[in-house]
């Protein structure tokens, strides 16, 4: 785990002091609200529908137990006793008072955390594979890269006022759990034919109004050239990204309008110039980062307790089936803790749950926790011998839902319940869906399924890459939900296609039921997942399930015409 260097500590404290001053100057009127806005945004403070919201960075989604306990403390002391984990590996507090925020930031600094650049038109919190350092399919831990980028991008004087926000994700695995192809820059650690490790660099991905899958701008970038190259991309973007329309300001639009080849040559030219006075990155800093992410001291232990429990306890078996992923060591496992209790708010955890998670991580996961972009918590290094104990601990904290990857493991943005931009509710929709399929007892039967819900066109709920995506809109004052099908956030990344006209809030659930029923009929057998089935049979059967009247109406019309 990376712990703050003396420099980090000094820097973050100075930032808190600076923000304290800015809050005072806002209150005194020296700063207008318009001028204060980008300053508070750079410190993670949003103005929401009902109150301020503070977004705290969890760099590359990694935390230790001390940090998790501090989040619990903050939730209790300055908020309403809970926090919300987001799709960007951040945690949000929904009810802080403006005057308390500098104190909260100080409390975060006490445990090497901050809220710097979690919003605003700058380089945001860098995200990484939530199984980093543990995954069995990993070529290299992406977190040293992410930490290097965190340091480089923090308060970068040149890139604080970009045309728009800028998101970078890093993965070291083939399975793209970091969704690199939906980011402004995606980095994939790869090994060249000469056995050299470097990056495949992708650019121009993003969801939002105009969803686009990132394109490869550099098939192989030697590791030591990472920062100059990223800097070149950012400089070209800062100088030529559109500023006349905020919906066209992301780099994906620049890629689209300029053309990948032209943009590549501009970036390469800038990169060449940058290399001319680049003497390499300070090796002391690099070594300290690498050392911080050295693998923990794994211990081999017999796992009969786990095996016995598997035989004896069907609930345990069920939970293990959904929640346990393969670790790079066969005697260890990666546990995903679902924050999607049926009927709860996706991604919310109470302070009591956070403390329980911290305790379990300290005891059984080499003191490490992760936040996934799917709004779940990961215990990345659990010895198989300890899995029964972890399960019992989670059950006691109400955190043992066996639904990871299933239909009720829904990503939902805050929507109308919190967000000022929302055009529809999102959380209650997720709750209804989870409840309904739970009642039907179909969840297990349906198997792997990703439903993602956004409360407006900005797509924070990533609906474009949901197997079933749901987008809540406002049609003349009434909520209307559009369904997209066939999206995929993995290495087979795809943008879902709109199925047809939207549904009212009441009609949505029955429509989804018809959709799922049709899948159960169409699939070859229980092993064919929804998305595989969709890819095989195409959208037609699912469309006709969603709009059963549509074909009838058309027939009726034809008949009338003939008559």
């Amino acid at each position: 785990m990376y712990n703050y260097s003396e420099f980090d500590e000094t820097f973050v404290r100075a930032r808190v002091a600076e923000f304290r001053g800015q809050v005072e100057r806002r209150i005194s009127g020296a700063l207008t609200e318009e001028e204060f806005k980008p300053l508070r945004l750079k410190n993670g403070l949003y103005l929401q529908l009902h109150a301020y919201m503070l977004r705290v960075a969890i760099p590359y989604g990694t935390l230790n137990s001390r940090q998790m306990r501090q989040l619990a403390m903050i939730a209790d002391r300055w908020d309403k006793g809970y926090g919300h984990f987001t799709t960007r590996q951040n945690v949000q507090f929904n009810w802080p008072g403006l005057g308390d925020v500098p104190d909260i930031l100080d409390a975060l600094a006490d445990v090497s955390m901050h809220a710097i650049q979690t919003s605003g038109n700058c380089i945001r919190n860098v995200t990484a594979d939530h199984f980093a350092g543990a995954a069995s399919d990993e070529c290299e831990d992406p977190r040293p890269t992410a930490e290097l980028l965190r340091q480089w991008s923090t308060d970068h004087p040149e890139f604080q006022y970009l045309p728009r926000k800028f998101k970078i994700a890093v993965t070291g695995s083939r399975a793209d759990r970091a969704v690199t192809r939906a980011h402004d820059i995606g980095l994939r650690l790869i090994t060249s034919e000469e056995e050299e490790t470097g990056y495949q660099v992708l650019v121009g991905g993003g969801l939002g109004r105009t969803p686009m899958i990132a394109k490869i701008i550099r098939p192989f970038l030697p590791r030591q050239h990472l920062l100059p190259y990223i800097e070149a991309i950012l400089r070209v973007y800062n100088l030529s990204g559109r500023r006349d329309n905020k919906y066209k300001a992301r780099i994906k639009i620049l890629v689209h309008e300029t053309g990948l080849d032209e943009l590549r040559s501009r970036i390469e030219a800038e990169f060449e110039r940058r290399l001319a006075d680049f003497a390499g990155v300070d090796q002391g800093v690099v070594a300290a980062i690498e050392e911080a992410f050295a693998a923990p001291a794994f211990v081999a232990r017999p796992n009969n307790r786990h095996l016995d429990r598997l035989d004896a306890d069907s609930n345990y078996r069920e939970w293990v089936r959904t929640s346990l992923a393969r670790h790079k060591r066969p005697d260890y496992g990666i546990v995903t803790v679902s924050l999607k209790r049926v009927g709860g708010t996706p991604g919310d955890a109470t302070s009591v749950q956070m403390t329980a998670l911290a305790d379990l991580a300290e005891k059984y996961s080499h003191d490490e926790l992760r936040v996934s972009h799917e709004q779940n918590i990961i215990l990345p290094h659990v010895s198989r011998a300890d899995i029964p104990a972890v399960y019992d601990g989670l059950r006691a904290a109400g955190l043992a839902s066996a639904n990871v990857g299933l239909i009720s493991d829904i990503i939902a943005c805050p929507g109308m319940d919190y967000c000022a931009l929302a055009t529809a509710r999102s959380i209650p929709v997720a709750q209804d869906i989870a409840r309904r399929f739970d009642e039907l007892g179909l969840e297990k039967e349906i198997g792997p399924m990703k439903i993602k819900i956004s409360g407006c066109i900005n797509a924070c709920g990533h609906h474009h890459v949901g197997h079933i995506g749901i987008l809540g809109l406002d049609r003349a004052g009434v909520e209307n939900y559009q369904i997209t099908l066939g999206g995929d956030a993995t290495d087979k990344a795809a943008i879902g296609r709109r199925a047809g006209p939207g549904f009212s809030a009441e009609a949505l659930l029955p429509a989804l039921e018809r959709l799922v029923d049709r899948y159960l009929v169409e699939r070859q057998d229980g092993s064919e997942s929804f998305i595989d089935c969709y890819r095989r049979v195409g959208e037609a059967p699912f469309k006709s399930a969603l709009y059963p009247g549509a074909t009838q109406r058309r027939t009726r019309f034809r008949r009338r015409k003939r008559a």
Partner: protein
């Protein structure tokens, strides 16, 4: 005099308030005497090295404090090797002073209204509280020397008093 110049030692009157600035287009047609250049923030600085010895100062506008092109432009011009004075002009706020300096600017020209609302102290504190930057830590201090502190801007050398012609 409608402008205030912010430098590391505080607020100053604008010695160049009477000076005539040359556009990039004019510069490219050729100059015979050193000039003050006004570079729009969407202009390409790549050709500038040809003219460096003719430039007494480069001024880059900030139409809006949220428009950060000027920062990249300044940085790019420094990387091209320019060692003279770089001035940011327009809507920058005190909280951006450090970024302006770190990106390569020597000074900032602001309106008197803004200067009244955000007095000297609020600008200077930006440097006083400077914990150092991550970028310096990663790359070592930038090899860009600061411009000779406004030496060529002293009133007795200023073009207005010297009756400096423009091209």
């Amino acid at each position: 005099m409608n402008s205030i110049i912010v430098r590391d030692d505080g607020f100053h009157e604008d010695e160049l308030s009477e000076a005539v600035f040359t556009s990039l287009e004019t510069l490219k047609t050729g100059v015979e005497v050193p000039v003050y250049l006004h570079l729009e923030n969407d202009e390409d600085p790549a050709c500038l090295p040809l003219y460096f010895c003719w430039l007494r100062l480069i001024r880059i506008p900030f139409p809006d404090f949220a428009d950060g092109r000027g920062f990249s432009l300044a940085s790019a011009i420094r990387r091209l090797g320019y060692q003279g004075c770089l001035r940011a002009r327009g809507h920058l706020i005190a909280d951006q002073y450090r970024q302006a300096r770190q990106s390569g600017f020597d000074e900032v020209e602001i309106g008197k209204g803004l200067a009244a609302r955000q007095p000297e102290r609020q600008w200077l504190v930006q440097l006083a509280n400077n914990p150092g930057s991550y970028q310096d830590r990663l790359f070592g201090k930038r090899p860009v020397p600061a411009a000779p502190k406004s030496g060529h801007l002293r009133p007795e050398l200023s073009p207005s008093s010297a009756g400096m012609p423009t091209v």
